[in-house]
């Protein structure tokens, strides 16, 4: 089996739903940074409409950050309650996808 490439450092990610349209990546980053060091904050925008899609991923560099976020009962930003949950990364990444394909003969 070929050596698979996996990111050298693991991320501890949360998935946030119901992000109000008024918030931008920076706002989420600023808010969630209080729980730990953020290595990734992805709020995908639909380039066809100019609005974001209402969900976001935030990745902490340590498990502690993740734990801190999940411990807090509710996260209210600009009067809106965000839905925060742990994001379990899917079992395969870019490289694995190819491998998986190779297995289905």
């Amino acid at each position: 089996m070929a050596v698979t490439r996996v990111p050298s450092r693991r991320l501890f990610e949360i998935y946030i739903a119901r992000v109000p349209w008024t918030l931008a990546t920076k706002d989420l980053k600023d808010y969630f940074a209080q729980f730990g060091t953020i290595r990734k904050c992805l709020l995908p925008f639909d380039k066809e409409t100019g609005f974001h899609k209402g969900f976001c991923w935030v990745g902490y560099s340590s498990e502690e950050g993740l734990r801190n976020v999940l411990q807090k009962e509710s996260h209210i930003l600009e009067g809106v309650k965000l839905q925060v949950q742990e994001h379990k990364p899917r079992s395969f990444g870019r490289r694995y996808a190819n491998e998986g394909a190779a297995d289905m003969s």
Binding site: R5, S8, P20, G50, F51, E78, G79, K81, R94, D103
Partner: protein, 1398 residues
């Protein structure tokens, strides 16, 4: 369903009301259609719907005779189900539908054609009060549009349709002439019925025209139609509208006289009449009166009164009625519709009053957005362009009433969504005044709109407005939404300056940087980065684009300079960890973003880059180094590791970090060691590192010296490495000494299994058997963990001894290993026990050993070899003994297989055949596989061929498997002719090959540039990498491998060297090398190899494949005469050249206009007995081209035109396609010829109805990007658009190559009403997937959704895979099975369909 068709929604309340009213006799006077609906009303809507379809079906059959139309209608009934469902759900849930949904269903209906009667009815009925958001007159327009358009499409209207239209008129307060309406019905020969008259009376009454109503009433009486309550209600309204309230009231007594008790409809009419006059007292009185009669009005009725009051200008009384509402079930949707209707008609204040009656759900946390009330209200206000002041007022009140948490933001959202820029900007101003935050991305939806329109002024306007609001655009704004609208940044900057916007912001600079980087213009990136006006911007913001840019450029100097700048300039790495981390991470990202092959291809680039960085003193952190090292390992370029390692601080690295073969490491460590020693610091660790490094370099001498020098400081790890090194270098003495030395230091020390094995091996080799056995014992004592590989290690030790013929060594070591339990006595491990005898040629001893083995370990290793040797020697006695033993011990069948294989292997096919014909002999797949694979591994082609042939009649033998083995061997030995013959043989034998067999066969043929005579199953995974065979000392193999790897020059050199040494090769390597050389265009070298081969091998001639290559090369070099003569020799030897070679030759001749030679070649090929796979059109097309090249346009047309006409008259003949001619003519820009051919193609249509040439030309235009020409041609010959088959074939072909999506899009633009959209879009997605164009794929998906085109599983799967590979979320459920599953499913479906068609 019935919600629409039967209006149960309106019926249900009525029904209950009827029951409530005391003298409910009215029911008797309410005949159909309402009464009919009643039967089914409670909960059996489904049944009604079915009943209706049944009712309609015979009607249709009677009218329409043609079968295909029925078919389409059947299909439509299906689609209708869906549309109906959609509308029905909407009506059921909300009591309304949107214009968009209605139009979508309408357009669908238009597309599919043949609208059915009930579909039309459905649409017409939807154009009234079900559209509260649409202004009244627009609703009527909509109804008319639907009416006329569907009539053109063949809809047949009956009374129900006319009645529906009337209802819509009434609901929309449309003014029309009832008499005209009646005469229109008459014209259309449709009889008006009671409902028609009732509605016409209502229409007259709404206008206050009692006279007109009376006239209609007269009709009804003469026709003896019953007069119902609804007529009386209309009359109430009619009198009221003339201002005669007295007579209006009187109607009620008239009713009673006629035996009809006034019901709620009548009272409602009266209520509305008073409301219209603003007579609230009478309204209240009537409400009281009805209450006393123990009846009551529904909320919905009262809402009508509210509407009437508001509309008549008495909003002050609305509150009185609102307070009477009971807010019963279903209140909210009704109130919403009322509110929407009011807004639509400009009565938003009343609408807001209604909204405020909405119950707000009590919640602990009112901040949740789902609790917001009034979104629909705000959105519709925005849609209807209500003024800002109004909006602000509503927002304030909503907020105050705690009904909405963020009404202004939501209003802004609506404004942005509907791209109302002015309103949006004004709303933002308001928000700013209120102290609400404004953010750059608020401008994006507007900018998106302007970008799509390419509206530069609009874009600048938004930026300016945002600037005035104090919101500065960020990088994303510029990159994604602004700069894409401008061709160059300088003009944009100037425009900003002109409009008083800041033009030197960080955002803009970074955006510019990104822009340049994405286009790979690294010199501009460098200029920007080094420009003093560049503000500080973190690398993080443009890293991704820079990686892209790097990959698009090959300029290593620029790479390094930019990296140096990032590292040193302070402006770009300000974040805490600093440049070591940031730039290091950038390098990591750069490599990570490349595919394995990219990294491999750019290895040298990267190496230079790293070294230049080193010179620039760029340092990366060790962590990052480790990450990059792992990446490089994963990409199979570990050689680069020692180049990246120079960028790290080597002091901090541990031994594990250092890759093998690092020269640098040894010297560094030596210095370090000396330094530590001088400082009298502990040196153990460094010493170990040095020893390990020296061992890695295989420098035994030096390692031993170092060890001797620093002996006291040696640790176990160092010893272990050193022992292993000595073993590898066959230095048994030092190895054992070292081992003893380390044990003296610490007797508990244990080495790992590999090192022990190395010791055993070297001891065995040097005859120190006892020592070796002691080592084995020690392994046992110290409980050394043994892995699978260790087991293999034991085998190698034993086998090596066996090869040396050392019987005792083999036996004793084997015994020790097995009795100590270090390894299990598997067949493999026991094999050396026999091998050792076989090697010495002592077959009887070998047989004895096997029998012994069987007794002890229950296995019979190498029995096959023994049997073979016995057969070869003709030793029948021993053979008999062996067979007896096997028969007894292993069973008869096993014995027979053993002997069968032995006969086969020794070439005694007759004997083998006799064995296999033994009665009761049956297939044992495992054994057959074993032997077949043995044949493949040893390339025993003849043996395998015999096996396959002999097993033909073998009971239960899987023939596909057998042929698969054979093809595998043919593939390895590149025997395409044999493979091809196998294909025929399989058909002869009626074998149904599995996919993998077909793929393998196709592979062989393709590799030899042969046409594949069947449809190759698609392959979804990469070919497995073939293990490189041991080729070290075999120049013949080396040549073959190098040829395969494409390293032809090297192969050529080896052959020349072999030639010097007089080494002769068999035929195959020569022809392979010749082919390989030719494929690289090395004609002279190929000829030289051919000459060498001819001296070695008598009668060496090139095979067909090599000759074909030769022809190809000669054609490429323009030696056409030589090529023709090569072809001639090939044909003379009765070989079949590759079709490609002949094709290229003919094409080259055509380009020269050499008609004569084309004809010569045609004759040569024609005489060939075997099929050549050449199309007749090859010659035809090229003869045409040759004429054109010779400027004989008339000749060309004269030649081809009759062929094209006759081609269509013979339906069996393959389609004559002159696409090639068109393409060439377009490519070569031979415009006069193109004109001539185009005229011919058009003539063929107009005179003969032959569309193929024009369609081909059209597609060639599309293919060449000459869209205008394609369009003009299409305008002249509209029928091209109907050549579905040809067009689809083109699309399918186009979608197989990268970057071709645009062509399909162009085609769709040209033929917008292409009917097979689903198929075309699937192909388009395939293109996008090939291009990894996620954006376009998503757009396509969205478009399909909008157009309501079905997306099948293959489509979804492909899209999902594309999205996932791009790291994006999949916004739908991904089909769970692998891709191949759905492909197979589709294929089966298609097969089924085609078999049904037959």
């Amino acid at each position: 369903m019935a919600a629409l068709l039967n209006s149960t929604r309106w019926l249900r309340p009525l029904c209950s009301r009827l029951l409530r009213l005391p003298r409910g006799a009215a029911a008797a006077h309410r005949p159909s259609p309402r009464a009919a609906g009643l039967v089914g009303a409670p909960g059996s809507t489904h049944l009604i719907y079915q009943a209706r379809l049944f009712a309609i079906a015979p009607h249709q059959k009677g009218k329409v005779q043609e079968q295909p139309i029925l078919g389409i209608q059947n299909k439509q009934a299906h689609g209708f189900d869906w549309a109906l469902n959609k509308l029905d759900t909407s009506v059921r849930k909300t009591g309304r539908i949107t214009r968009a949904l209605l139009l979508r269903i309408f357009n669908d209906m238009c597309r599919t054609g043949y609208p059915s009667s009930n579909q039309v009815l459905l649409l017409l009925r939807s154009c009234g009060s079900l559209l509260p958001e649409v202004p009244l007159c627009e609703r009527t327009e909509l109804a008319h549009m639907i009416w006329y358009k569907l009539q053109v499409l063949g809809a047949v209207y009956d009374a129900s349709h006319y009645n529906a239209l009337l209802k819509v008129y009434l609901q929309n307060e449309h003014k029309f002439s009832p008499t005209e309406f009646l005469s229109k019905m008459e014209e259309a020969k449709v009889q008006p019925n009671r409902v028609t008259y009732q509605r016409l009376i209502a229409a007259y009454c709404n206008e206050g025209d009692i006279e007109g109503a009376s006239k209609i009433l007269g009709f009804m009486k003469t026709k003896e139609l019953p007069i119902t309550e609804s007529v009386f209600s209309s009359l109430v309204t009619g009198h009221a509208r003339t201002g005669d309230m007295e007579n209006a009231e009187n109607i009620l007594s008239v009713m009673r006289d006629a035996g009809i008790e006034p019901g709620p409809d009548t009272y409602l009419a009266l209520l509305n009449a008073y409301a219209e006059k603003g007579d609230i007292n009478n309204v209240k009185q009537i409400l009281e009166k009805v209450k006393k009669m123990e009846g009551y009005f529904m909320d919905r009725d009262l809402m009508q009164v509210i509407f009437t009051l508001a509309k008549a200008g008495y909003p002050q009384y609305v509150q009185d009625i609102l307070s009477q509402l009971r807010c019963e079930r279903g209140y909210i949707p009704d109130a919403m519709n009322l509110s929407l209707t009011l807004i639509t008609q400009g009565l938003e204040d009343t609408a807001f009053q209604v909204l405020k009656t909405f119950p707000t759900l009590p919640s602990e946390n009112h901040s949740e957005s789902s609790m917001d009330t009034g979104n629909f209200f705000l959105r519709h206000c925005v849609t209807m362009d209500k003024p800002l002041s109004k909006l602000k007022q509503f927002c304030d009140e909503l907020k105050e009433a705690n009904m909405h948490s963020s009404p202004l933001q939501f209003t802004l959202y609506c404004a942005l969504e509907s791209k109302k820029a002015a309103l949006a900007i004004n709303l933002m101003k308001t928000m700013k005044e209120e102290g609400l935050p404004l953010r750059p991305h608020y401008s994006w939806p507007l900018l998106v709109g302007y970008r799509k329109e390419k509206n530069v002024q609009g874009t600048i306007g938004v930026l300016k407005a945002m600037h005035e609001l104090g919101v500065e655009p960020d990088v994303e704004t510029y990159t994604n939404y602004v700069l894409t609208n401008f061709d160059d940044i300088q003009t944009f900057r100037a425009l900003l300056q002109e409009n008083g916007c800041p033009f030197e912001t960080e955002g803009l600079f970074v955006a510019e940087l990104r822009h340049e980087a994405v286009y790979g213009t690294l010199e501009n990136v460098l200029t920007l980065l080094s420009s003093p006006s560049m503000p500080s911007a973190d690398l993080f913001h443009f890293k991704g684009c820079l990686v892209l840019g790097f990959k698009r450029s090959n300029d290593i100097d620029l790479w390094s300079k930019i990296t140096e700048l990032l590292y040193k300039d302070g402006r770009y790495c300000q974040m805490p960890p600093g440049p070591t981390e940031a730039v290091g991470y950038f390098l990591y990202n750069l490599i990570d973003s490349m595919s394995d092959s990219e990294v491999q291809a750019k290895e040298e680039h990267l190496r230079q880059y790293f070294h230049q960085l080193k010179k620039m003193n760029v340092v990366i952190s060790t962590n990052i180094y480790r990450g990059i090292r792992n990446l490089l390992n994963a990409c199979h370029v570990p050689e680069l590791i020692k180049d990246i390692i120079v960028l790290t601080d080597t002091e901090k690295l541990s031994v594990a970090d250092v890759p093998k073969n690092t020269e640098l490491e040894v010297s560094v460590l030596e210095k370090k060691l000396e330094k530590l020693k001088a400082e009298k610091q502990p040196i153990e660790n460094v010493l170990k590192q040095l020893i390990v490094a020296l061992c890695a370099e295989e420098n035994m001498q030096k390692a031993l010296e170092v060890k001797a020098k620093y002996e006291p400081d040696m640790v176990v790890g160092g010893y272990a490495a050193l022992i292993y090194l000595c073993c590898r270098h066959d230095n048994v003495e030092d190895a054992m000494n070292l081992k003893e030395e380390v044990f003296r230091k610490d007797s508990s020390v244990a080495l790992d299994a590999n090192k022990y094995l190395a010791l055993v091996k070297v001891l065995g080799k040097h005859g120190r058997l006892e020592d070796a056995i002691n080592i084995l014992k020690e392994m046992k004592e110290k409980n050394i963990p043994i892995q699978d590989t260790t087991g293999m290690g034991f085998f190698h030790i034993l086998n090596a001894a066996a090869m040396r013929g050392e019987v005792e060594t083999v036996n004793r070591l084997h015994e020790s290993i097995v009795t100590l339990g270090l390894a299990k006595p598997s067949t493999n491990l026991c094999a050396p026990l026999i091998t050792v005898h076989l090697e010495k040629g002592d077959i009887p001893a070998a047989l004895e050993a096997t029998i012994d083995c069987c007794k002890k370990y229950d296995s019979t290793p190498r029995i096959h070899d023994i049997l073979c040797r016995l057969i070869e020697q003709g030793n029948t006695d021993l053979l008999q003994k062996a067979m007896d033993f096997l028969n007894q011990d292993r069973g008869e069948m096993a014995m027979l297989y053993d002997i069968f294989f032995a006969f086969l292997n020794t070439g005694k096919y007759k004997e083998a055949k006799k064995i296999i014909e033994t009665p009761g002999f049956r297939a044992r797949p495992g054994r057959l596989q074993w032997f077949a694979e043995k044949c493949i591994a040893t390339k025993q082609m003849e043996t395998l061929e015999n096996l396959v042939e002999m097993t033909q009649k073998l009971f239960e033998c899987d023939r596909d498997h057998m042929y698969y083995y054979l093809l595998k061997l043919y593939k390895i030995s590149n025997e395409w002719q044999k493979a091809d013959a196998t294909w025929t043989k399989m058909q002869e034998e009626n074998v149904i090959p599995r996919e993998r067999t077909l793929r393998l066969l196709a592979d062989i043929l393709k590799n030899n540039s042969q046409e594949v005579p069947f449809d190759v199953p698609q392959i979804w995974y990469k070919d497995h990498v073939e293990p490189a065979p041991d080729s070290e000392n075999n120049p013949e193999k080396k040549v073959l491998i190098l040829c395969k790897e494409g390293n032809v020059q090297e192969a050529y050199n080896i052959l020349l060297e072999a030639q010097k040494k007089d080494i002769m090769f068999p035929l195959f390597p020569y022809s392979t090398l010749i082919q390989a050389l030719l494929s690289k265009g090395c004609l002279e070298e190929a000829i030289k190899v051919k000459n060498i081969a001819e001296t070695h091998i008598k009668g060496f001639t090139l095979n067909a494949a090599a000759s074909s290559r030769l022809i190809l090369t000669q054609v490429r070099r323009d030696y056409l005469k030589d090529a023709i003569s090569t072809l001639k020799t090939v044909l003379e030897r009765d070989l079949v050249p590759l079709p490609l070679a002949v094709t290229r030759l003919i094409q080259a001749l055509a380009m020269k206009g050499d008609l004569e030679s084309i004809c010569t070649v045609e004759k040569m090929v024609e005489n060939l007995a075997a099929p050549t796979g050449l199309s007749r059109m090859l010659f035809v097309n090229n003869i045409v081209l040759a004429h054109i090249k010779n400027n004989n346009l008339d000749m060309a047309v004269e030649y081809i035109e009759p062929l094209l006409i006759s081609g269509t008259q013979n339906p069996d003949a393959p389609m004559t396609s002159i696409s090639y001619v068109f393409r060439k003519v377009i490519e070569e820009r031979l415009e006069p010829a193109l004109e001539k051919l185009s005229a011919m193609a058009e003539r063929l249509i107009s005179q003969f109805g032959v569309y193929k040439p024009a369609t081909d030309l059209f597609l060639q235009y599309v293919d060449a990007g000459r869209v205008d020409d394609a369009r003009f041609l299409l305008q002249r010959c509209g029928g091209i658009a109907e050549q579905k088959g040809i067009l689809l074939a083109f699309i399918a072909k186009t979608s197989q190559k990268k970057g071709q999506g645009q062509k399909i899009k162009t085609l769709l633009d040209l033929i917008p009403d292409f009917t097979e959209k689903e198929i075309v879009y699937s192909y388009l997605l395939k293109c996008h997937a090939l291009d990894k164009d996620v954006f376009s794929a998503k757009m396509l998906f969205k478009k399909m959704k909008a157009e309501n085109i079905h997306t099948d599983e293959i489509f979804l799967k492909r899209l999902a895979v594309l999205l996932k590979n791009a790291g994006e979320a999949v916004p739908f459920t991904e089909p769970p099975e692998p891709f191949s599953f759905y492909v197979e499913q589709l294929r089966q479906k298609r097969q089924e369909i085609s078999s049904h068609d037959v």
